[in-house]
């Protein structure tokens, strides 16, 4: 039983990292990034190729981050030239092109996919529990990073991107700089997650990084609450646990998924726990005062 729960927890943890990282780009920087799964995939294949070539797993992860972040910077630069809708479609296009490359190039294993070695930690083969610990540590680090970002010039620049780009620029904030940086950080984290995912799955193929996955990640962010830290986490938990919890209704899974997304966008586009959502307001109304006996504020 333990292993099953751990496995589901690992799934949720991977989704969390993907959602948190995407949120940096679409939530904080307000950019329409519809191809996040491509970067998840680039990280996955990079790390897999490296460990298959004999390089240590723990080295392959930073390498995956670097490669993915570098490619992410290209998207960031492209985003400076394109209007939002065009950017959305370009990122979709990139997702498809990457998947086609993964599918058709023998370098990536082609249509037979790529087998990935199981890594070791301190001499022991890594198990689901090891992966879970690693992922949770990373989630904490990423949350801290995002918090730090928000409280810095970076956060200011990004907030302005969401509001009035012109005003920010007049303050001397190099908005473009930060836009590209958001892409780099967001994609790099996705790449890192990909590297871990590949080693945990022992086998990856192109369809693991298809456009539908990008859509899932976006759904998690948007359903949970865009532009917050708690939002993507909640979204990841919901979407990760849902297939397991709803197994009794498994035949209706897609209908439920589609339905929930439509209803959420229609009635709560800020997400379940977004800035101004119903649940968040109730939380602030009833529960926050209890948590803050000293009467201090709470930022979340």
């Amino acid at each position: 039983m333990g292993n099953y729960i751990t496995t589901v927890a690992v799934n949720i943890a991977i989704f969390s990292l993907l959602a948190l990282s995407l949120n940096i780009i679409i939530g904080y920087a307000g950019q329409s990034m519809m191809g996040h799964a491509a970067f998840f995939g680039i990280g996955a294949y990079t790390a897999a190729i490296m460990t298959n070539a004999g390089i240590n797993f723990w080295l392959s992860l930073p390498a995956a981050m670097l490669v993915t972040g570098a490619l992410g910077s290209i998207i960031g630069i492209i985003s400076l030239r394109l209007r939002d809708d065009f950017l959305a479609i370009t990122t979709i296009g990139i997702n498809f092109v990457m998947v086609a490359l993964f599918q058709n190039m023998d370098f990536f294993g082609g249509s037979l996919g790529m087998a990935v070695k199981t890594p070791s930690f301190l001499g022991q083969r890594m198990t689901s529990t090891h992966f879970l610990v690693l992922l949770v540590i990373l989630i904490v680090l990423v949350c801290l990073l995002i918090q730090k970002m928000n409280n810095s010039w970076f956060g200011l620049a990004l907030a302005s991107l969401r509001g009035d780009e012109g005003a920010a620029q007049s303050f001397g904030v190099n908005v473009n700089h930060y836009k590209v940086l958001a892409f780099i950080i967001g994609t790099a984290i996705a790449g890192l997650t990909g590297g871990i995912y590949a080693h945990r799955m022992t086998f990856i193929f192109s369809s693991n990084f298809a456009f539908v996955i990008s859509i899932s990640i976006i759904s998690m962010v948007v359903v949970g609450g865009v532009g917050t830290i708690r939002g993507p986490l909640i979204g990841a938990i919901l979407l990760g646990a849902a297939p397991e919890v709803l197994r009794f209704a498994q035949d209706y899974r897609m209908i439920l998924y589609g339905g929930v997304i439509v209803l959420m966008m229609r009635f709560q586009p800020q997400g379940l726990l977004g800035e101004d959502s119903f649940l968040q307001r109730k939380f602030n109304q009833y529960i926050s005062p209890i948590l803050n006996k000293k009467g201090g504020e709470s930022h979340a």
Binding site: R83, D85, I92, G93, F96, I215, S219, V222, I255, P269
Partner: protein
């Protein structure tokens, strides 16, 4: 052989243009990317099949299916898209995500209601092939090219020769000013959906007839390919969509025919798009007023 491939390409391109037209019309007015247009494509194919199966009348199948999907489109606009767009500060991806949800629903409803197995139209045109010189023409091609041309002519007439069309063009250009001038923007929006989804439905039926097979996964590829086509065509320009659709149809056919298939065919649309956008960020045909 070239002529044969040319004809083939035009035929495919026509279907692409027809499928994508709805997305263009909707973008023109609402400025949203509507993936649910591909849902109309799937729904249309299945409605059409059902009606053809029951009545044996293809014309009826087209008409009823187009009307039904058009109506569904209007309802979706009224109950889902319009309320979403009326909210003050939403990210552009919100309506897009909603449309993806609708598209997912359409595919799965098709699976649950009609079953996952293939359905065949089995239309008997009287003759299997028509040979014109060295060209082999399948009757379905003629149906597609003629019907698409007809539908686009009707579209052109509506947009350019009717009051409603004028309202549409005005709203597309600047919906606030149009409204201020007393233009009936609501009708313009409804028109986008009726025509848009109706066209997608027609395209779905055509593809069903052409390949004699419809499955719940029918809309998967068109959903993203059509986005590529509308952007290539300049987002919001019906003429651009037709040109882009034909262009991609021809590009794909030529790639296949002349063994340039080192890139999977379905990626061609995106690669072309990325290349064009790098050179001309406003697409092949840009609208005169790009916001």
């Amino acid at each position: 052989m070239f002529l044969q491939q040319l004809l083939n390409g035009i035929m495919i391109g026509s279907v692409y243009a027809l499928t994508a037209m709805g997305a263009t019309l909707i973008y023109g007015i609402l400025r949203i990317l509507d993936i649910a247009n591909a849902g109309a494509y799937v729904a249309g194919a299945y409605f059409g099949w059902f009606i053809y199966f029951k009545t044996g009348n293809l014309i009826l199948a087209f008409l009823i299916s187009m009307a039904a999907t058009g109506l569904i489109g209007v309802l979706l606009h009224r109950f889902i898209y319009a309320p979403i767009l009326s909210k003050p500060r939403i990210l552009p991806i919100v309506p897009l995500v909603a449309s993806v949800g609708l598209f997912t629903l359409s595919g799965d409803l098709a699976r649950l209601i009609a079953g996952p197995g293939t359905k065949a139209y089995n239309v008997d045109f009287g003759t299997e092939v028509i040979n014109i010189g060295k060209l082999t023409v399948v009757p379905a091609w003629i149906l597609i090219i003629v019907l698409t041309a007809l539908l686009f002519t009707i579209l052109w007439l509506i947009l350019n020769r009717t009051k409603l069309g004028l309202a549409w063009r005005a709203t597309a250009e600047d919906s606030d000013i149009a409204q201020a001038m007393g233009v009936n923007t609501n009708s313009a929006m409804a028109l986008s959906y009726i025509l848009g989804y109706g066209f997608a439905a027609a395209a779905g039926i055509m593809v069903g007839i052409l390949y004699n097979s419809i499955t719940p996964a029918l809309g998967e590829v068109p959903s993203y390919k059509m986005l590529s086509i509308i952007v290539l065509g300049g987002l919001g320009s019906p003429v651009g969509t037709v040109i882009a659709g034909l262009f991609i149809g021809l590009a794909e056919t030529m790639f296949s025919a002349y063994n340039l298939a080192f890139i999977p065919k379905d990626s061609i649309a995106f690669i072309v798009l990325i290349l064009v956008l790098l050179i001309k960020p406003s697409g092949l045909i840009s609208k005169s007023n790009n916001i």
